[in-house]
């Protein structure tokens, strides 16, 4: 797909035989301008991301904690195999998939509701938007301290409220449980990410053409039906973008776990495991290998989203 401007520029419509035809000139100009326009992005990505990435990959192919004395040995995919056979890494992968499923569902639902409410310009929308993004703007270390006060087993806000409502008889240690800890950490993550998802969906709603709505309103469709049958399908590209970003963000979940539960085994995500391996054990080789496995997993999810996007554009 894309823009076929050059096809339209020959009014006679046929293929031209001269090498200096207007079609070729236009195409060459498009080509030249295009390459110049993408050059900065290509260069900056190549130097600052791809180059370190390749070096990182090389490190993941060398023997474990090459940092600790001695010459690094080439072990190929050995590190990857060791990582996959480690129980803690497998648990981390499992936890991460749960985080992703929960987080993305919540984010998209809440994000859509918020975006629909906010995409039209109304007086005071600025203030509401500003309040909306506060969770995202709050530094995670501060957010962590605050949420710890909410979930604190002794005097936390949650336990106090539940006790007052007589839902629980004694204070629960939420972060110690297997299930609840995952749920609450997801909640905190969603709390911080919903602003971004909403913004993306708001931008998406903005770009929908007005005519569609007025036409269907004339036809007598209720707002809800309009939303389901017209808005939602048209919004698919933005939803896919939001879905991709939400998924990638959830796969990389780390900050919330770190501040709420540290390296505890019951809530470790893949990145938390990477952190533990790289920064606590100083084992960059295995850590980087696991990080690349995460990259592969994320790429897989992203590819699925891209296919969905590709289909929705027709």
């Amino acid at each position: 797909m894309g823009l076929d401007i050059h096809k339209r520029e020959t009014p006679t419509g046929g293929a031209s035989s001269s090498p200096c035809s207007r079609v070729d000139v236009a195409a060459r100009e498009a080509s030249r301008v295009g390459m110049l326009m993408v050059a900065p992005a290509v260069i900056i990505t190549a130097v600052l991301v791809i180059y370190p990435l390749i070096k990182g990959f090389r490190r993941s192919l060398e023997s474990g904690d090459a940092a600790i004395g001695g010459q690094p040995r080439f072990v190929g995919l050995g590190n990857y195999a060791e990582v996959l056979s480690s129980a803690t890494a497998r648990d981390a992968i499992g936890h991460t998939l749960i985080y992703v499923a929960l987080a993305v569902t919540l984010e998209l639902t809440l994000g859509l509701i918020i975006a629909v409410a906010l995409h039209r310009f109304f007086r005071g929308r600025g203030i509401v938007l500003a309040i909306l993004i506060l969770p995202w703007a709050l530094p995670s270390v501060v957010s962590g301290v605050l949420w710890r006060r909410v979930f604190d087993p002794e005097g936390g806000l949650l336990n106090s409220m539940l006790a007052q409502l007589h839902v629980v008889s004694h204070p629960h240690v939420w972060m110690a449980s297997r299930g609840w800890a995952l749920v609450f950490i997801t909640l905190v993550h969603v709390w911080g990410v919903v602003p971004l998802i909403s913004l993306i969906l708001v931008a998406g709603l903005q770009s929908l053409p007005e005519e569609v709505f007025s036409a269907s309103a004339v036809d007598g469709a209720t707002p809800l039906r309009q939303f389901r049958h017209i808005t939602l399908p048209l919004l698919r590209p933005s939803i896919v973008v939001a879905l991709s970003i939400g998924t990638v963000g959830a796969l990389k979940i780390f900050d919330e776990i770190y501040v709420l539960n540290g390296t505890a085994l019951n809530t470790r995500s893949i990145l938390m495991e990477v952190y533990n391996t790289t920064f606590v054990n100083a084992d960059f080789a295995h850590g980087t290998a696991l990080a690349f496995l995460l990259t592969a997993l994320t790429a897989l999810f992203a590819a699925v989203c891209a296919v969905a996007f590709g289909r929705s554009r027709t």
């Binding site: 060459r28 080509s31 390459m35 190549a46 130097v47 791809i50 180059y51 390749i54 070096k55 090389r58 940092a67 600790i68 004395g69 803690t88 710890r148 604190d152 087993p153 002794e154 204070p171 240690v173 972060m175 110690a176 539960n261 540290g262 390296t263 505890a264 085994l265 019951n266 533990n276 790289t278 920064f279 606590v280 054990n281 100083a282 084992d283 960059f284």
Partner: protein
């Protein structure tokens, strides 16, 4: 034609990037070795010092006046120091001329050869004076850091709560601890003992302390684990923690609490005894701006089996990475820091307990140290956690211990199973 050329060009560029990335070798290298002392040599140089604490500016100015060396203290948050040092050293790149070396980094960093041994570099008088504190910063006969913050484990208790419960003295042994806790509970203190048990370094330190206090060690001289046998100190220590939770000696939430929050509870007057605390916490607990129990916090010797228990030191030292650019100036900085006058000011203004035996003893005698005699007396019982030298795999061992011990206190796994798994991991690490 042009199109083809551009395509080839972009491919060449990409290929070049790949080749450069794959073949590139190491990074910058530091100058090795130290020159003989002399002011002329280092005058005019500028050094970076990476610490998790701030140093009073006027002290640094003094140093600059004396030696002509300018100092930039790069303050890094406590949690991030280790990460930053690991990244920089793995990349074999300069990060600072003097850096923090916490005892827990020693084994790892020494084995990696990232730091300069200092025992032959620093003034011999200084080395001897620091030897007790530096024991935890020494591996294989080489001392890698000069201790500047003398942290060790000490118990704290709330004097008012003890009086209210009719307890006149802090228990000297574990046998005495039980009745004291019972009396405190009877007087209305719901959870008298404060012990962090989260899956963090702060949550695993009490287990180390309890093992030592109960008269044992973690490993023998060949690094074989000594905590799997039910009669061993390590086993009894973990069992103590599990029982403490079961019997309501510590709050159920302790399994998710780290040092900080457990201290907060003590400072709020919620718990009566902080088992594994530090001299620094004593000052904070008695600061009316920070704590509601001021001035009732008292220091006490960690209880043991037949008398005061063994405790261990967690010193932080100043160390010189091999990638440092100005090693002679770095040495001058460390020696200046260790002057008694400087140490006294640092204690007074920044709360850093000195490590030099001579200075500490004289300060304890002249009453300059808060908690005076007890703080000084505890020193007699301080040993390094690894008398045989911190192993390079301490980090991995500790992080495995964090997860397993936390699971054990939560009841997810039995004490025996947790310790057996931990021993297996330790053996695997020691063997590799």
């Amino acid at each position: 034609m042009k199109r083809a050329r551009c395509g080839v060009l972009s491919m060449v560029v990409c290929a070049a990037v790949l080749v450069i990335a794959a073949c590139d070798g190491g990074y910058g290298e530091g100058r090795s070795g130290f020159a003989p002392r002399g002011k002329v040599l280092i005058e005019g140089q500028e050094i970076n010092v990476l610490l998790p604490y701030k140093v009073p500016g006027r002290l640094l100015d003094e140093f600059t006046r004396e030696t002509g060396v300018k100092v930039n203290v790069n303050v890094t948050s406590w949690d991030a120091v280790h990460s930053k040092l690991i990244v920089a050293n793995t990349a074999k790149t300069y990060v600072a001329d003097v850096t923090e070396l916490d005892w827990s980094f020693t084994g790892q960093f020494a084995a990696a050869g990232w730091y300069e041994p200092l025992e032959k570099v620093l003034d011999p008088v200084l080395i001897t004076d620091l030897s007790q504190a530096d024991a935890a910063l020494t591996v294989g006969g080489h001392t890698y850091g000069a201790c500047y913050s003398n942290d060790y484990r000490l118990s704290l208790y709330n004097g008012r709560m003890f009086r209210a419960a009719g307890v006149s003295e802090f228990p000297k042994t574990f046998a005495e601890l039980g009745p004291v806790v019972a009396k405190l509970k009877a007087s209305g203190v719901r959870y008298p003992l404060g012990i962090p048990m989260a899956a963090t370094e702060g949550g695993v330190t009490p287990w180390y302390l309890l093992t030592l206090a109960m008269g044992g060690e973690l490993f023998d001289k060949d690094y074989k684990p000594l905590f799997t046998d039910p009669g061993s100190a390590g086993y009894r220590a973990l069992q103590f923690e599990v029982d403490a939770l079961k019997n309501g000696w510590v709050s159920p939430g302790s399994v998710t609490l780290d040092n900080g929050p457990v201290f907060d509870q003590f400072a709020a007057g919620s718990s009566a005894i902080l088992f594994a605390s530090s001299p620094g916490n004593l000052s904070t607990a008695n600061d009316p701006k920070e704590s509601s129990i001021a001035p009732e916090a008292q220091p006490a010797l960690v209880p043991g089996v037949r008398g005061p228990g063994t405790t261990f030191g967690l010193p932080e030292g100043l160390a010189i990475p091999v990638t440092a650019k100005h090693k002679d100036a770095a040495r001058a900085f460390i020696e200046w820091w260790m002057q008694p006058a400087t140490l006294r000011v640092l204690y007074k203004e920044a709360g850093m307990l000195p490590c030099r035996s001579s200075v500490l003893t004289s300060m304890a005698h002249s009453g300059e140290i808060e908690g005076g005699t007890v703080v000084g007396d505890e020193l007699a019982h301080v040993v390094p956690l690894f008398g045989q030298g911190a192993p390079k795999w301490y980090g991995q061992f500790s992080s495995t211990a964090q997860g397993l011990l936390n699971a054990a206190v939560k009841g997810d796994v039995s004490v025996g199973a947790a310790l057996t798994q931990l021993a297996a991991k330790a053996t695997e690490l020691a063997g590799s």
